[in-house]
């Protein structure tokens, strides 16, 4: 299998290659809406303290989006729950799985019907915020999330409500 560059495809490759270093094994989250890269990192729980090797490109020119952000994480594959929440803040994102510098899988994110385990419920009286063996789960609405347990609706920045 040929090794392809692991950022955007086509003419942006060269451009982007200069801005964002390639990774050997890990995940590239591309076509993130400009301005959302740091929120993607928050969804992934990356705050610089865990020792992950991470490259971030912000406001990179993009044919499709005008400008985009790109996040590359070395040595990390994303769970479906993480991809689902990323789809809510970066609906145009592509998630590329990289092995030995090559893209081995390329996925467009799609808006899920529900998300579980990444976002926590902002209602302090919700049973999911007690010490129970369940994750908060939300129905995905057109303009927010509704807790499946207490019906609280989360609107606005869902990254303000990420689970620990």
């Amino acid at each position: 299998m040929g090794v392809s560059p692991n950022g955007d495809e086509g003419e942006n490759d060269v451009d982007e290659g200069m801005r964002v270093a390639r990774i050997r094994d890990g995940t590239v989250i591309d076509h993130v809406r400009a301005g959302q890269a740091l929120n993607v990192l928050r969804v992934l729980g990356i705050d610089g303290g865990g020792g992950d090797t991470v490259s971030v490109g912000m406001n990179v020119p993009s044919d499709r989006l005008g400008e985009k952000d790109v996040v590359k994480v070395e040595g990390r594959e994303l769970s479906q729950a993480e991809v689902d929440v990323i789809s809510l803040i970066a609906p145009d994102a592509t998630v590329n799985l990289i092995r030995d510098y090559g893209v081995v899988e390329k996925r467009r994110v799609s808006r899920p019907d529900r998300v579980a385990g990444v976002v926590s419920c902002p209602n302090p009286r919700c049973i999911t915020t007690a010490n129970e063996p369940v994750d908060a789960a939300f129905e995905v609405l057109a303009d927010g999330l509704r807790c499946e347990y207490c019906d609280t609706v989360v609107r606005g920045e869902i990254t303000d409500h990420l689970a620990e």
Binding site: R125, C126, N131, Y149
Partner: protein, 308 residues
């Protein structure tokens, strides 16, 4: 057979009618069902005190010939040692044929239902749901003024009152015109208004009972709580406008019924009790046949037909 009743919204119109029909049969002839739950054990798991609801479920179980086991108060149970709700109900599931759960946190019944096989009834989860209250409200309304082609006024604290939210949502399954009477600061919350719109209901809001009183077949009164107001005088001024007495009701139809989930404090004057309008004590009594009907439909094993 539906195994779990968590919210009134889980119940279709057909489900509701089935419970109310059964409740009516039971009320007519309670002796005919006195061994329906013989040998069955219903666990009452009350994580917060609610003496009246607990007694009502206990009475309902006994009248069906079943036995009750009671978790006791949270202070004397394993909850005090920090056990999770999930673990508590899993243990109870092992020795009970049905579980009745009351809990101070919203969503508790939804969570508990994930961990048990036994039928489970939500008897109130914080500010969330209390479906048996809604069923007994519907039963009371149906047995007095009916549930189709009627006009209902709901008055009081419409913002925080879960009883009101649940009843208003349930009434959208019937041909009921609903009017909502409250101070502006205590109108229906956006989420509930959205649900009512989605169900095709028209939400008509008033700040003054006089605007609709003469049209009503039923007036459902709820308490306006002191803690919703910054100070005592603001509370007194507002609450005073949403209090009814026998004189208020002179403008109502003779056959209009006044309902209230109880306990009331002073939002309905005692002089209403002696009028034909007052049905709130009957409403409270209806809790027993309605809960009997629900337990019977969930537990007794010779029920023909399925829940929808």
């Amino acid at each position: 057979m539906r195994q779990q009743v968590i919210t009134a919204a889980d119940l279709s119109r057909a489900d509701v009618n089935r419970v109310l029909d059964r409740a009516a049969e039971i009320a007519d002839d309670p002796g005919a069902v006195d061994d329906r739950l013989a040998g069955e054990v219903v666990a009452l798991c009350f994580f917060e005190p609610s003496t009246r609801t607990r007694m009502s479920f206990e009475t309902a179980t006994h009248r069906l010939g079943g036995d009750v086991v009671d978790m006791g108060t949270p202070e004397e149970s394993s909850v005090a040692k920090g056990e999770s709700l999930a673990d508590t109900v899993r243990v109870v599931d092992g020795y009970a044929d049905a579980i009745v759960l009351r809990h101070p946190r919203e969503g508790a019944a939804t969570l508990a239902a994930e961990f048990v096989d036994a039928p489970l009834v939500n008897a109130g989860d914080g500010a969330g749901h209390h479906p048996t209250q809604t069923l007994l409200d519907l039963y009371t309304m149906r047995s007095t003024v009916g549930l189709d082609g009627v006009t209902v006024g709901v008055m009081g604290d419409l913002k925080y009152g879960r009883t009101v939210h649940s009843l208003a949502t349930a009434l959208t399954a019937f041909d009921v015109d609903q009017h909502f009477v409250s101070p502006e600061s205590l109108q229906l919350p956006p989420g509930v208004r959205l649900d009512l719109h989605d169900a095709g209901a028209t939400v008509r809001e008033h700040t003054d009972l006089e605007a609709v009183l003469s049209e009503l077949d039923a007036l459902y009164v709820t308490r306006i709580q002191r803690e919703r107001f910054p100070d005592e005088s603001a509370y007194r001024e507002v609450a005073g406008q949403y209090r009814i007495d026998a004189a208020t009701l002179e403008a109502a139809r003779d056959d209009m019924v006044v309902m209230h989930p109880l306990p009331r404090i002073d939002e309905i004057a005692p002089d209403v009790d002696d009028t034909d309008h007052a049905v709130y004590f009957r409403q409270a009594h209806n809790g027993v046949p309605v809960r009997m009907a629900l337990l019977d439909l969930m537990l007794a094993d010779d029920q023909g037909g399925e829940w929808e």
